[in-house]
């Protein structure tokens, strides 16, 4: 048997090489066991905290489920979340920290267009970003690694308003006039632009078109002026506190158009549904998910049960239809992309998400070149049969009837507005 004899130098070299190789192997094994970090800034305090906290709970439920099932690619999932205080000035620093210090593998965004300050850092690092509840940000950046989970589709202004106007124009007799009113703020101005486009397309005469300052608390002068124009349709684009004020004032002054509603932010929140109760009957607004018989997405009910069980303890939206379910689905998209591409290579993930359709708890999602849903899916709903102020009634079908799009329609528009209210009382 021949023995290998090594001279001193070769022996040392070989020993060192073996040690280095062993070290690398150990590092690789350790890295494989490292958690997959998903980082995001979120509005956990400040004016947008209501949705931010609900979003965080939705993300935590997904991470908990995935980790129980063994993680992604055998690695546990770790959420790294920072509070940006609803302050865009803190967003660039937070995303830089996530990328440069925490070395996260995947990125989610915060809610709303306050994502924008993070975009230059994300683009510079060539990273994938899954955006949430932002409207048309990528029209500015045109970044292929940006995706957005809210179902606006390629034209958000159109999808927010089309359902209201398509139903209104189908009434008999056909309406001829419309009044537009909204807050002087980003979202509502976009919605009002969409409403103007719809009015022009359908040949409606705009008899009132005004915005009010976001700090307005007394809506009587606004709605009285609007009422004086006797419009057939009243389209409102409002934020949560305005929504409550406008609906209450409309009842007080007996505003009775044929259709009343629009893009009213707040009607999606459990707290406002509960607060307004029967005052919501007859109002047309938008939703992204609602438990109607025509909307059956696999897994949504189980996810929402888990969310609703925890919501009271965390002090967030009791129903979770608007934000948490969509955050959960955003993470489902990321999770599937990681599993199918076998890692966290950003370019592979971006390509995979662009090329595939994802089955999520909020339905099938296919992203277009701009990162928005290829097919918009904003539901136009009409509140019906609301009795009292019990929030649990909104977990039952028939309380928010889907009137648009036709694929998910669960009922027809009841008009005029007074009839819709009276029907509810019977």
């Amino acid at each position: 048997m021949r023995m290998f004899r090594l001279n001193g130098l070769r022996g040392v070299t070989l020993a060192l090489s073996t040690m280095v190789a062993a070290l690398y192997a150990t590092n690789d094994a350790a890295r494989a066991a490292d958690p997959i970090k998903i980082g995001f800034g979120m509005q956990l305090t400040g004016p947008l905290a209501g949705n931010g906290k609900a979003a965080l709970l939705g993300a935590q439920i997904w991470a908990e489920e995935v980790n129980k099932a063994g993680g992604l690619l055998g690695r546990q999932v770790e959420l790294v979340a920072y509070d940006d205080q609803s302050n865009p000035g803190l967003v660039p620093g937070i995303y830089s920290k996530l990328l440069d210090v925490d070395k996260v593998d995947l990125l989610l965004s915060n809610n709303t267009n306050q994502t924008a300050p993070a975009m230059p850092t994300i683009i510079q690092h060539k990273r994938l970003i899954m955006g949430m509840f932002a409207l048309a940000i990528n029209e500015q950046f045109k970044y292929p690694g940006y995706f957005q989970i809210q179902p606006y589709g390629p034209n958000g202004k159109d999808s927010l308003t089309r359902g209201f106007f398509e139903n209104a124009i189908a009434m008999n007799p056909k309406p001829t006039t419309v009044a537009l009113v909204g807050a002087d703020a980003e979202f509502s101005k976009n919605a009002l632009e969409g409403a103007r486009m719809q009015a022009k397309r359908l040949g409606l005469t705009v008899v009132y078109d005004k915005v009010y300052p976001p700090t307005t608390v007394n809506f009587t002068p606004v709605l009285k002026a609007l009422q004086a124009t006797s419009p057939d349709l009243v389209f409102v684009a409002s934020y949560p506190s305005d929504t409550v004020g406008i609906i209450r004032t409309a009842h007080e002054i007996n505003l009775e158009p044929k259709v009343f509603g629009g893009a009213m932010v707040g009607t999606q929140y459990a707290a406002i549904k509960q607060q307004l109760g029967e005052a919501l009957n007859g109002i047309v607004s938008f939703e992204q998910y609602i438990p109607e018989p025509t909307v059956k997405f696999p897994g949504i009910e189980e996810m929402l049960k888990k969310y609703q069980a925890k919501a009271a303890d965390v002090g967030v939206d009791a129903l979770g239809y608007y934000v948490p379910a969509f955050v959960y689905s955003a993470l489902q998209v990321l999770g599937e992309a990681v599993t199918k591409t076998g890692g966290v290579d950003q370019q592979k993930l971006i390509s995979y998400i662009h090329e595939n359709t994802f089955q999520t708890v909020v339905g099938d999602i296919k992203f277009g070149p701009d990162g928005e849903w290829v097919e918009p899916r904003m539901f136009a709903v009409q509140f019906r049969n609301i009795k009292g102020n019990d929030v649990q009634q909104f977990t039952q079908p028939g309380k928010e009837v889907i009137i648009f799009p036709p694929k998910y329609k669960s009922g027809d528009l009841v008009y005029p507005f007074t009839n819709a209210q009276k029907n509810a009382q019977n």
Binding site: T45, G93, A116, P120, Q140, P213
Partner: protein
């Protein structure tokens, strides 16, 4: 130390900071340092009127936002580079400071403070209704990821903010040691006595308001390029005002060094807390520190250090405390 030596030293410190930023591979620290330096400029600018003259200005956000929006508008209109936008924003805010001073500086104490707060409301209403800069919807300001010489655009913004911080601190120190500064101190100690002694009170106060506004506006000019998206609600955040008042009060208002110490201390603390613990505690910490310093150390950290050296603290050197004392006296 002579002014010349101080300027040389300040430039050296600034150059060292910029040099260090070029070697930092982790960009987060450059972001954090930009945040702190921005407050060094704002706190120093506030102190020129608030600390040296004793006029508590709650209109920091107005000046910052005028600088921010003028830069954003001019960039949209003429695509001007930031080094050109900064002096334009400074001139504009200097003029606004002068005008604000002319209209309000005859007021004293809380009346002046309320007037400056009203300025923020007026400017915010104007910006919210100015469609060219996006109105209430906001405006995107696109910037490249990289830039020649500096590489990263964030490093470039950090360089510009360092230059502004050095300029603000040098200006504050030069004012403090000048006849102009002595005149301001005389006004702070007793305005009537100063006027009786021949100090041109109104002229000095107007110059101080203009200089203070100029630096606040210049600090706002690079901000749209840092954020890339500006909208009125966050641009007029009360946090800018609270911090720019708290930082000099914590550091000490009678010297140029006080705002620098306060900005570095509070700014760094806020950055650390944003990522270490729930940042809702941020402003609470600022508020608690403010209360502690107003009660226990009215002359700030600098005052504490001096009192350790045997000098007696003067509670009325703190502009907030002085304002409250003056109000109490006038109501008696």
């Amino acid at each position: 130390m002579s002014n010349g030596r101080f300027i040389a030293l300040a430039c050296l410190v600034g150059a060292a900071l910029v040099g260090a930023s070029m070697f930092v591979t982790n960009e987060y620290y450059v972001f954090a340092a930009y945040f702190v330096l921005q407050y060094v400029v704002l706190a120093t600018a506030w102190n020129i009127l608030g600390g040296y003259v004793g006029y508590v200005n709650f209109g920091t956000t107005a000046f910052l936002a005028i600088g921010l929006y003028s830069a954003a508008a001019l960039n949209k209109w003429l695509d001007l580079p930031i080094p050109v936008l900064i002096p334009i924003a400074g001139l504009l805010c200097g003029a606004v400071g002068l005008a604000m001073g002319y209209l309000t500086i005859r007021l004293r104490g809380v009346y002046f403070t309320i007037a400056t707060l009203a300025l923020s409301v007026v400017v915010q209403t104007f910006i919210t209704n100015w469609e060219y800069v996006g109105g209430s919807r906001g405006l995107y300001v696109m910037r490249p990821s990289e830039i020649p010489v500096f590489g990263s655009y964030v490093a470039y913004l950090f360089f510009l903010m360092t230059v502004l911080a050095v300029a603000a601190v040098v200006t504050a120190r030069v004012i403090e040691r000048s006849t102009f500064g002595f005149g301001l101190a005389a006004i702070r100690d007793d305005e009537t006595a100063a006027a009786a002694s021949g100090v041109p009170v109104l002229r000095l106060k107007l110059i101080a308001a203009a200089v203070s506004g100029t630096f606040m506006g210049m600090a706002g000019a690079p901000l749209p390029f840092y954020l890339t998206y500006v909208e009125p609600t966050s641009s007029f955040s009360l946090a800018y005002t609270v911090n720019s008042v708290a930082m000099p009060l914590v550091g000490g208002t009678t010297s140029w060094l006080g705002p620098v110490i306060g900005a570095v201390l509070l700014g760094t603390m806020q950055q650390a807390m944003t990522v270490l613990i729930s940042s809702s505690v941020n402003l609470l910490v600022v508020g608690v520190l403010l209360v502690i310093f107003v009660i226990a150390a009215p002359n700030g950290i600098l005052g504490l250090i001096r009192s350790m050296g045997g000098k007696k603290a003067d509670p009325e050197a703190n502009p907030l405390a002085a304002m409250l004392v003056a109000e109490k006296r006038s109501s008696q």
